[in-house]
């Protein structure tokens, strides 16, 4: 034990004061002649052992208190060897950056990398001298800072550690180190340091270090993995596709697997679970670093519709988060589609129903599709039908128009596409109640569109679609920039006459010139959608674009109000999801995999009636439900989504030493291990308080006796 102010130890002489007081007190006892000595001596015999013990304890407690005070003022400390950064012993401003990314959840021995990192960071905070200013950040993408301003309150930092848990998000060191640099820019200390506790996985450093080119703070990395090799196997992707060959409700589950080991993996167990029940199991061999696939065929039960959780899992290893991967599948209610062919052709690939029906059958395998010529359709044909598609129909008969109006009002879906045969005047007259906007004149594009990279140039003038608005539920599952849709060219389309603004009507897609391409309208309980071009290749190449199938599938689902056999939106941990309000819904609730519920109110929604949900830090299925104005709760399965791991976190590759932002200190051989100072006055103060309490209790008991 050492002392900062050893001269104050002279105060230890005060420890003899209680003994002196005791002796003096004995001498100043009052003499008294007392008659009942017999009773007195008997009483004394009864309690003498207890009394003596209490007196000794009292004396010890008082001596301890008298000795503790000068000891505390002498500032005692001990020196201990440490494997924590020695730089922490200097006066400085420091930002602790704790890697809470998914890979840190892997176990090594009895604890996880994250627990090890958190314990070491906590020990470092305790090791800092009391005049160090501290802040605390997390390294996972999208995480909020724990303590974002420098503060000397060490207790606050230690308390903040208690609430940190390892997330499933990927790491983003550039962002974390950039934030740490900004925090340290306002430091009053000349020494500014960032202490990063991580496993030094290469993932997360793709964007560089994030440090400023000049005046960057010193970075000290504590590699909690100890550079130990990490062999990992992972499920990188799960793709669920309709598999009609497996029968009704058949699905094919394709799992992409990866091996990140030196020796490869033989007989890796791969299992398929549906709704938590194991339904299939197989084995694969993977060469070192190889990626492989495992395909399962399975028939989902519940032809009347329902949601299913599909999960592929492999034999467990140290990193469990990537040993399984989820997909959420909605099995459609039976959908019956009647396609009315208004322009029959002999060549099949020139026929409009060919493209539309193919997209439907592949996008919604459970759907029953019937194609009829216009003359064969009667109002009775609509019985049992959930969706009617009128493709390039010249004119609907008055009886058909009336029947369609009743059909839509009762909840049916109506899809209309135009073409050369459409008589706009008759349509506007007979279908006025149903058309989202009155039909106008056909228009032919007059200029060449901009060229996309790698695109074969078509010499015909064409229009393209404007950037899509993903806040619309129909487009929510499309990629951010609308790939597969915006590349489509429209050589000809029908202009739509202006219609008054109405909450029942909305434009889903527009051409670049602003003209509506796809418009919808709510009619009664049903919905009508109007595409202002053809669904064959006569006016556009949309049917051969990759976006056509999902567009038809989503349109059909929206028109019928059901979902199809299709994988629900899958996000990577940390990604955001747009959730849309429909109708007069007042609240959207998201049930997270950990059971907690996130709530968004209508007032928080943007003009597009959507909210951004970004708390995707847990892997699993997130269920969405809506609450109406009368408090009724309705499930919104079409907005459900699953959150899976960002597969970059599965790769155990370590950061190239050349890219490390720290200067690696090399210890000189034979050098003594560094020591850090542990102040002991806190413990002594605690002991003194304990002794004071003992003294108080003993004194109180004596008074009560």
């Amino acid at each position: 034990m050492h002392f900062l102010a050893p001269s104050l130890l002279l105060g230890l002489l005060a420890a003899i004061l209680p003994w002196l007081i005791h002796l003096i007190g004995k001498r100043r006892a009052q003499p008294m002649r007392f008659a009942a000595m017999q009773l007195l001596l008997r009483s004394e015999r009864r309690i003498s052992a207890r009394r003596r013990l209490r007196e000794i304890l009292l004396l010890v407690a008082r001596t301890g208190v008298a000795a503790a005070l000068p000891l505390i003022f002498a500032r005692p400390f001990a020196e201990r060897t440490t494997d924590l950064p020695v730089a922490s012993l200097d006066p400085q401003s420091a930002v602790i950056v704790l890697d809470d990314s998914a890979s840190m959840s892997r176990t090594a021995g009895l604890s996880s990398m994250f627990e090890r990192a958190r314990d070491r960071a906590r020990a470092l905070v305790r090791q800092f001298p009391s005049d160090v200013d501290l802040a605390l950040l997390l390294a996972s993408a999208g995480s909020s800072p724990k303590i974002s301003e420098l503060s000397p309150e060490r207790t606050r930092v230690l308390e903040a550690f208690e609430n940190i848990v390892c997330s499933a998000r990927p790491a983003d060191f550039a962002s974390a180190l950039r934030s740490a640099s900004l925090i340290l820019a306002g430091s009053v200390h000349s020494k500014r340091r960032i202490y990063l506790f991580t496993d030094l996985q290469a993932a997360g450093w793709e964007a560089g270090t994030g440090l400023p080119a000049e005046g960057a703070p010193e970075v000290i990395i504590d590699d909690v993995s100890g550079a130990a090799p990490w062999e990992n196997r992972a499920v990188l992707d799960v793709d669920v596709l309709p598999a009609p060959e497996a029968g009704a409700g058949g699905i094919a589950v394709d799992a992409e697997l990866a091996d990140f080991s030196v020796a490869g993996t033989r007989s890796l167990g791969v299992g398929l679970k549906v709704d938590g029940v194991a339904v299939a199991k197989g084995f694969v061999d993977l060469a070192p670093g190889e990626r492989g696939h495992k395909r399962f065929l399975h028939r989902l039960s519940g032809e009347a519709g329902g949601a299913h959780d599909v999960e592929v899992e492999i034999d467990r290893d140290a990193f469990r988060l990537d040993d399984h991967r989820l997909a959420h599948v909605e099995l459609a209610r039976s959908m019956s589609v009647l396609i009315v062919n208004g322009d029959p052709r002999t060549a099949r690939n020139e026929d409009e129903p060919f493209f539309f029906a193919t997209a439907l059958r592949n996008g919604l395998p459970g759907a029953a599709v019937t194609i009829k010529l216009a003359d064969d359709v009667s109002p009775e044909s609509l019985k049992g039908t959930t969706l009617v598609a009128l493709l390039n129909l010249a004119q609907p008969s008055p009886a058909m128009a009336s029947a369609l109006a009743r059909f839509v009002s009762a909840g049916g879906g109506l899809f209309i596409s135009v073409g050369d045969r459409v008589d706009a005047t008759v349509w506007n007259e007979r279908m006025a109640k149903l058309l989202p906007q009155p039909l106008g004149l056909p228009r032919t594009a007059s200029a060449l569109p901009g060229q996309h990279a790698g695109e074969i140039v078509d010499d015909r003038p064409a229009e393209r679609l404007a950037p899509i608005d993903r806040s619309h539920p129909l487009l929510a599952s499309f990629p951010e920039h609308g790939e597969g849709l915006v590349s489509a060219r429209f050589f000809k389309y029908m202009l739509l006459d202006p219609a008054p603004e109405s909450p029942e009507r909305s434009v889903i897609l527009r051409y670049e010139n602003g003209a509506p391409a796809l418009v919808e309208k709510q009619v009664g309980k049903g919905r009508v959608m109007l595409l202002s071009t053809t669904v064959d290749r006569e006016w556009t190449d949309l049917p051969i674009r990759t976006g056509f199938l999902p567009l038809v599938r989503e349109a059909a689902r929206r028109l019928v109000g059901v979902t199809g056999d299709e994988e629900t939106a899958s996000l990577r941990a940390g990604e955001a999801r747009i959730l849309a309000f429909t109708g007069d819904e007042q609240r959207l609730e998201v049930s997270r995999p950990d059971g907690s519920v996130w709530v968004a109110r209508r007032e928080q929604a943007s003009a597009a009636r959507s909210v951004l949900y970004s708390e995707t830090d847990r892997l699993g299925t997130y269920h969405v439900r809506a609450v109406g104005p009368d408090g009724t709760v309705v499930a919104r399965p079409e907005q459900d989504f699953v959150v899976n791991l960002d597969t970059r976190e599965s790769n155990p590759a370590r950061l190239d030493p050349a890219l490390r932002p720290d200067r690696i200190a090399v210890a000189s051989p034979g050098a003594k291990p560094p020591k850090h100072r542990v102040e002991l006055w806190h413990s002594l103060a605690a002991v003194m308080i304990g002794l004071l309490l003992c003294e108080s209790v003993l004194t109180l008991r004596r008074r009560r006796v």
Binding site: M32, R33, Q38, L39, L40, R42, S43, R703
Partner: protein
């Protein structure tokens, strides 16, 4: 025989002077009258109710009984010795037996136990004299210090008062010796009233019973037909030990070398329990010997103690 206790914890009844106020009165006679008048309002003042010359009962013969009192007819019938009991043809004798040892002089506040015993004794002597009965007095320490035989002569009460007023606490205690002496001096059935603190009158065994010479002597007196009452007098300090400091205790009686240095508050609770046990032992011993036991603290009004004593005696006769 009845037993009772009178303490100062409850406020004295109105009209009853406490010992400190009584001490302010000029003479013992005046104090005695004050006590008696305070105590006997509404109570029949005959200390010996039911006196007559008629045969009352048989009782078994005990050593010390006069041979002439044996009822030979009853012996013939029962093959046991029985003595005829008559109500006395003369006045009843009352012996006041006071412990005047050094321990009776303990006083920190108020009056000493000996003074308190003097007040009670003088009141009883005054009362007995008023009834025309004979009163005697015996003062003792480790030996009989003064003995005044019972008499109804004029001036007897005044002599009792004088002896009580001049008594000083001194010497060690031997109550058994005094009672033995008294037994030898009287063969007439008497009322014997012993007043003592009883300290050091039992073997020094923790938790032991009140055994030894004094209880045996009490039983002997009762067996000989005497009516015996014991006034157990203690100072409040000897009940509560209400001290706050470190105290060096020393014994009071000559030759008592016992000392104790102690924090009095540490001892108080154990002492109170011990004091209570001490009184309980004597109460049990008196019950066993058919001796009336009365405990009194020296801060209790003597008139109240006397009233309780007389009331119990009247109640006992009625039943």
């Amino acid at each position: 025989m009845s037993e009772g206790a009178t303490g100062s914890r409850e406020p004295p009844q109105p009209g009853l002077l406490d010992p400190t106020d009584l001490a302010r009165l000029a003479s013992l006679e005046l104090r005695a009258r004050t006590i008696v008048e305070g105590a006997f309002s509404g109570i029949h003042r005959n200390l010996h109710p039911g006196t007559s010359v008629e045969f009352t009962e048989h009782r078994e013969y005990a050593p010390g009984d006069e041979i002439r009192r044996i009822d030979w007819k009853a012996v013939g019938r029962a093959d046991r010795y029985y003595v005829k009991r008559f109500e006395d043809e003369t006045e009843m004798h009352t012996f006041l037996v006071l412990d005047a040892s050094a321990s009776m002089g303990y006083r920190r506040r108020g009056i000493s136990k000996l003074d308190y015993a003097g007040y009670l004794a003088s009141a009883l002597a005054y009362l007995v004299g008023q009834q025309g009965d004979a009163t005697g007095l015996l003062l003792f320490d480790e030996k009989v210090r003064s003995f005044l035989p019972p008499s109804t002569r004029p001036g007897q009460i005044r002599e009792v008062f004088r002896l009580l007023e001049t008594a000083q606490p001194a010497g060690r205690t031997d109550a058994a010796l005094a009672l033995g002496h008294l037994g030898e001096l009287t063969d007439k059935r008497s009322l014997i009233i012993l007043m003592s603190d009883l300290l050091d009158s039992e073997p020094d065994e923790p938790g032991g019973e009140a055994r030894g010479a004094l209880p045996a002597r009490l039983r002997q007196l009762r067996a000989r037909g005497h009516d015996v009452a014991l006034f157990h007098l203690l100072d409040p300090d000897e009940v509560e030990l209400p001290f706050d400091d470190l105290i060096f205790f020393e014994g009071m009686e000559p030759g008592d070398a016992r000392t104790l240095l102690a924090q009095a508050p540490d001892l108080a609770q154990a002492f109170q329990r011990e004091s209570q046990a001490f009184r309980d032992r004597w109460r049990a011993a008196c019950l066993e010997a058919s001796v009336e036991y009365r405990f009194a603290r020296t801060d209790a009004p003597p008139a109240e103690v006397l009233r309780a004593f007389l009331a119990d005696r009247q109640r006992a006769v009625r039943h």
